[in-house]
Amino acid sequence: MEFISQHPVLVVSLVKIVILLLVALTTLAYLTWFERKVVAHIQSRWGPYYVGAHGLLQPLADGVKFLFKEDVTPPSSDKLLYILAPFLALSLALTTLALIPFGPATIYIFGQPTKLIIANVDVSLLFLFAITSIGVYGVALAGWSSNSKYPLLGGLRSSAQMISYEVAMTLSVVGVLLVAGSFNFNEIIEHQAGYYWNFIPRWHVVPQIVGFLCYMTCAVAETNRVPFDLPEGETELVAGFHTEYSSFKFAMFFMAEYANMITVSCLATILFFGGWLSPFPDSWMWTQYIPGAGLLLLGIYLAYDTVRNMRGIARMQLAVVTILSLGIGALCLLPSVMPVVQGPFWFLSKVLVILFFYVLTRGTLPRFRYDQLMAFGWKLLLPVSLVNLVATAAWFVYGWVKQG
């Protein structure tokens, strides 16, 4: 306890980091489940089904499988970089989460007041871009250190792609910076408070719709996802930069990709959709009950599903999920907890919607050709985001809008 009282900030930050990592890694695992389910239903399949109720234990089974697979290191590879690359990719992808604000509420850990954010730096956005820009090395080094043809080509492709789209992505976001007048995530979010005609939220997506479309396209390309997943285009490159990776190192690349997906979705939420702000006006008091009531309704549906459709061990597993959902729902309705959960609830809901669109594009769009991809990035997205930037700047200079 003495240590806690001497280094309050350090201890509180460590606690928050541990909590966030646990939540983030669980979310990563279940994001794979979510994606497989959605894509399966797009293709009229069931998706993960047998391991646990509705395949809910599939991520766990996958994790165990990866852990126990043989870890092959190619003899001609550069050992140090070969091992370093997946660690670099995953740790950098997870680090960005430290900059994400999850809510405006102040909570108490060991009696220390603290916000729902790990690192509230002055230039959050720049830091995020700084960390993601180093993330390229994970992919590039993996491709190079494998010392094999396809990984090298995949690594080259993906680093070229990530560099190209980073430019357009950064430029598409500058418009928002101009509107908000700050680099800090909390200030950007607070700037989006208020409503047009008292009910349409003043989110930046309205004035910055062009910037948003550019950003989302670049974000999909940055994270190497379909339709921009050239670095791992199976038909051409086997599996791209991680061809030679097996076992848990492969899983780390996999997790890094999903962590990056979560990060760019969080960023989209913060910059364009008002972050943790509720979409409803504050005066509508009943909206405070939405998080708790929503979880309770989900719990009731799950209870129905448990009793009606599940048999044997699956019934017990789903019963646990039902109780969790009902319990957390009831907890969210407690007067002391209710104001705290508002921010995280709306934030995570928005992130989930964006992730759903991510998965939807993966399930529906065909892959680009490599030259098309480059032409699209440099010849369309870059000019469009530049024009958007100049137009936004002109908007301010000629005083069509008051800067907040």
Binding site: D78, D122, L126, A130, S133, Y137, L152
Partner: protein, 169 residues
């Protein structure tokens, strides 16, 4: 000892080790990575001084942009292990003593001036002026002309690179 104080020495050590590795490494890509390590630890040192903007820009520009291009070129050319040459005589008999002399001289002046005694003792000890807004006001108002002149210089350099690269076709 406060935490920033310890962190300063940790990252200063990493930066120096990275610089030594950069010279000693045989593979070009290891050298490039060592340089990235130096850049990142320098960014952490800026961060310890409370200069968040400069730290972020240091990583974005050097580690994220320039060094990615370096690594990219090394990968593209698939450059092998570099060949060592023997030290030239001038480097051995004139360069080495001069280098040591310069190092001693620097150490002497730093020790006498007492620079760093105040800044290494905590984040943002005397750097309130380092906020992004203050920095941008300096850049875009007071030093607007040098800033724009530098931008045009860089633009000319980019155009020059394009012209040179296009010559063959």
């Amino acid at each position: 000892m406060s935490l920033p104080f310890i962190l300063f020495f940790v990252f200063a050590f990493i930066a120096v080790m990275g610089a030594v590795l950069l010279i000693l490494a045989h593979e070009p890509i290891h050298s490039a990575l060592a340089l990235i390590l130096v850049m990142v630890s320098l960014a952490v040192l800026y961060l310890l001084l409370g200069a968040e903007f400069i730290a972020a820009v240091q990583i974005i520009v050097y580690a994220g942009a320039i060094m990615v291009l370096f690594v990219f070129v090394i990968m593209l050319l698939n450059a092998g292990v570099e060949e060592r040459t023997n030290w030239s005589k001038i480097a051995k008999y004139a360069g080495l003593p001069l280098g040591i002399f310069l190092l001693l001289e620097l150490a002497h002046f730093l020790a006498r001036s007492g620079a760093g005694a105040t800044t290494a003792n905590g984040p943002g000890a005397s750097n309130a002026a380092f906020s992004t807004r203050a920095l941008s006001e300096l850049l875009f108002q007071k030093y607007l002309f040098p800033f724009e002149a530098t931008s045009i210089l860089i633009l000319i350099a980019i155009l020059g690179a394009l012209v040179l690269a296009k010559k063959d076709s």
